[in-house]
């Protein structure tokens, strides 16, 4: 306590340890208490505690005010969103030292950033990177390799950790100046372009590899048996699978809910199996 009091008279500065603790809490519990009312609010507040305790160690009023402002509604994507606690830490530091940042600016920047970063993060992390990593892991596993799940863990785990550390540290050191770059549409388009090319190649491959819809139908016409599946295969291998995937994709593009599509597929599959088509 004495140490912090002395510091307070000079300049309040966050140590590297504070920042690492903040990041580690963020990476551990930021969504532990996800609630309908305020989503990640408490996770964010918890992550900020090392920062708050350092900066306002000697001022209980300020500490309570800071805790309150970080208990507000908050929701973002965790890995790209790690930018926000990093940035807010640097803003709190500035404010505690009497800089020109005030409480409203901190609140506004949180509200302003959580949406865009969640949008980018969800698209890239869950939609693209995870899908590609999963495709490789799932395919290896289904081909009989015990390493499939581990490969997925490595690919995805390294990406997540690298992304979290990168965005958090950039948020603290570069602050808002880098923000225009992260949200720059042209750069984002470049990244999504690359991932879209890779993703589509794999998605196409996965139709052939992992969807396996076949028909047992066959007809016997004057001693010769026609197996319908062979006929279909000579037109296009996995024709039924392609039709099913394209059908699903078209309905998803029309914003039909996943649940509805699932029910329809369920019914079609059961009916077709009972009458012997599938």
């Amino acid at each position: 306590m004495n140490e912090t009091l002395n510091e307070a008279t000079v300049k309040k500065q966050l140590t590297k340890k504070d920042l690492i603790r903040c990041f580690l809490i963020w990476e551990t519990t930021s969504e532990s208490c996800l609630s309908y009312e305020r989503l990640m609010s408490m996770g964010f507040c918890h992550a900020m505690t090392p920062i708050i305790n350092r900066l306002y160690a000697d001022n209980k009023e300020e500490r309570i005010k800071a805790l309150r402002r970080h208990m507000m509604f908050f929701n973002t994507e965790n890995n790209w969103g790690a930018f926000i606690p990093g940035l807010v830490a640097s803003m709190e530091e500035d404010m505690a030292n009497g800089g020109n940042i005030d409480e409203d600016m901190i609140k506004n920047i949180k509200v302003g950033l959580m949406g865009p970063l969640a949008g980018i993060g969800d698209t890239i992390t869950q939609g693209l990177v995870k899908t590609v990593a999963l495709a490789i892991g799932v395919d290896m596993t289904l081909k009989g390799s015990a390493l499939g799940p581990i490969i997925f863990c490595l690919l995805y785990g390294i990406y997540l950790m690298a992304m979290g550390i990168f965005t958090f540290s950039k948020g603290y050191t570069l602050g808002r100046s880098i923000l225009s770059k992260i949200t720059d549409k042209r750069i984002m388009n470049k990244i999504t372009d690359i991932l879209s090319i890779i993703g589509l190649t794999i998605a196409g491959a996965m139709i052939a590899n992992n969807v396996n819809i076949t028909t047992p139908l066959q007809f016997t016409i004057s001693d010769s048996t026609i197996v319908i599946q062979d006929l279909l295969n000579s037109i296009l291998p996995g024709l039924l699978s392609v039709v099913a995937v394209v059908g699903v994709f078209m309905s998803l593009r029309k914003n039909t809910s996943v649940f509805k599509i699932m029910i329809v597929m369920f019914v079609i599959a059961v009916v077709c199996s009972l009458i012997g088509i599938l």
Partner: protein, 252 residues
């Protein structure tokens, strides 16, 4: 069975909510959950295969704001356990996962509703200006709820359910179990469809055809496809093709 039941229950608790944020991103996917459940039940590979097959239907799934259209723990951990214990094919596992995954949404809802109370308790606590016990509200209390809504059902399924499931599955008429297999074969089309939606850009649709041909006709494996996809992405940039399409076709 008691030890295994407790361990599957623990796994379900860990996967149900956020035990450790970073880890949860990785393990809360049916392929990993399946492999871990398999490990507990004594067969990593079977668990991984069932998990990977279940994973197919959730391929392009994006969870926004913590709200998903299925529960990843029920569809991953519990469904794999039930499938393994009743000795069913991975395709039947998919049908089980869809059913349990939808049912499991009740657990998610319960958890996120109860958590509201913890946030309010924390609101009162921070008025004291202390932060030492904040972790109890943020982390510890939700874990107890998870034990009830995830861990307990998983434990019951493994400890009491093993025989019940097997008897039930064996008692099903031939036609029904065939239908369950067909459903399991058809549903991966949903996952791949969602995956298409996640990565789709109109101008790159040709790459989907390339990927399909590589596997369906040339019989390459998925790593080769990934490499060809990467090569395509590099060419797209090094040949400056991006400049031709810039501006015109925005995020389509």
């Amino acid at each position: 069975m008691l030890v295994q039941g407790l361990m599957v229950g623990l796994l379900a608790t860990i996967c149900g909510n956020v035990f450790v944020e970073y880890l949860v991103w990785i393990i809360r996917n049916p392929i990993i959950e399946g492999a871990l459940t398999g490990l507990i039940l004594g067969d990593w590979m079977t668990g991984a295969t069932i998990g990977a097959t279940i994973q197919l239907i959730y391929m392009g799934q994006i969870t926004v704001g913590g709200v998903s259209s299925f529960d990843k723990c029920y569809a991953g951990v519990i469904a794999t356990a039930v499938t393994m214990l009743s000795h069913q094919t991975p395709e039947v596992g998919v049908t089980i996962a869809v059913t349990l995954g939808t049912l499991g949404l009740l657990a998610t809802n319960a958890l996120m509703t109860v958590n509201v109370a913890f946030v309010h308790m924390a609101d009162k606590y921070i008025e004291s200006g202390e932060t030492k016990h904040l972790w109890i509200y943020n982390w510890l209390l939700p874990q107890f709820v998870c034990m009830v809504v995830y861990g307990l059902p998983a434990f019951i399924c493994v400890y009491f359910g093993a025989d019940v499931f097997e008897t039930f599955m064996n008692a099903l008429p031939e036609q029904i179990s065939h239908a369950l297999n067909v459903v399991g074969a058809v549903l991966p089309a949903l996952g791949i469809g969602m995956m298409f939606k996640a990565v789709y850009k109109k101008k790159f649709v040709a790459f989907a055809i390339i990927g399909f041909v590589l596997i369906a006709y040339l019989k390459l494996d998925i790593i080769a496809c990934t490499l060809i996809g990467i090569a395509g992405a590099i060419l797209y940039w090094s040949l400056g093709l991006d400049k031709l399409t810039e501006g015109g076709t925005e995020n389509e």
